[in-house]
Amino acid sequence: MAITYTKKLLIERVQRHIANDFPSAEFPISSNEVLLYIDSAIASTFVGSVMGGGKITGSMATPEAYVVTAQLSSLVKNDVTGEWYATLPQTPMSLSLGFSITNAYFGDAADGVSQPIWLIKNKRVAYRDYMPKPNVVSGRVVKDVFYLKAKDNSPLLNLPVYVDMVTTRTTDVNETIAMPDDILDVVFQKVVTMCKDRMNMPKDLIKDDVGQGSSNVSKV
């Protein structure tokens, strides 16, 4: 039987590992909490592995398994700056543009895919505006907002924007997990460690006789 690797699977795996069985209604860590632990563990593991890999090989690279393509919502014009913007699926990872967001472009069925959007760091925007560049659209990110601007200030109304970016958060627990298999063990261990921390905290139980292996009852 082929098992699809999803976050739901990982949640169940963690819960069954800790409960040493199927968890019952008295299991003290909810699926959503485990999911939050998983999301944060993936994020920290991703950044750590990219930075660590860079130290060893001399060049940083984003493993493709983390990258997810998202179509952004319709672009809206910022009347103050003249830029067009849309919200990203999440705040990017704490790596430079190119590593957190690996690619961005316009595309639709009629016209195909545009040239890639030029990803520019915020601190370089002023400088780049005075540099020669082809007739492209450049983009910058503030928190989770993607600001776009055409070189000739052409309107970007109704242009569908696609972004390839590292995504750690979850919109659907049944989707195939965006993570290489070699990271699974690290993420699993991190989450289990967090859960064990919680289990060791004294706490009363609502229902009695939950086995010690699956309870967080005080050892007093």
Binding site: E26, N32, L205, D208, D209, V217
Partner: protein, 224 residues
Amino acid sequence: MAVTVDQIYKLCLRIIRKNQSGSLSSLEFNDFWSIEQTAYMSDLLGRFQRSNNGKEGANTGLIENQTIITKLSPFIKNGTIAVSTGNGPKPADFQYELALRIGGEMVIHINHNQISNVNNSVIDPPSVSNNSYYCVEYQHYYAFLPNTVTSADLDYVSAPVPVLWNYSFDGSGRQVYNPSGSVDPVWDDATCWEITERMLKKVGVSLGAKDFEQYANSVINTGN
């Protein structure tokens, strides 16, 4: 062949070596046996805080192993609770909750002093769409969160029905077993005999016979 209440009553009389008009009347038998089966069920469900308030170790609650669940299985029922404004009454014969589900999803028991924080939770707020259900208990009903749920499925251990050795009178005015109207126990055979032997403790107290009490204590402690 399931044990009948008549067989049990006859055994009792045989053990205490009394005939039908002896000191253990059928009314006493009905009472003693019914009380004893409730006590036996309590033993299976667990006796609380015999040792300390830490709720650990033996005798703290229902041990859901195969033996105990099999013994209790004649009393395990599945029912649907109708919920109105968040409140769902427990069944009249409710004894112990085994599982509570809404729409197939689990319902989490919370403490009463957790209600406000659960309502304000951003991770797992009470929600029908997210299948996050909670409950607390008041009097003889559950109070569910969110209070918009309309029904819940309850697996529970029901209280044992009292046995009844029904009788009619023979020509000499003696009680004669009448299967019609009698209520047989639903325990498995071995448990029926064990409850019967345990019941002798009460008979012993009633008759002032220490040997019955000692025998019953031996059964309670060793099973024989």
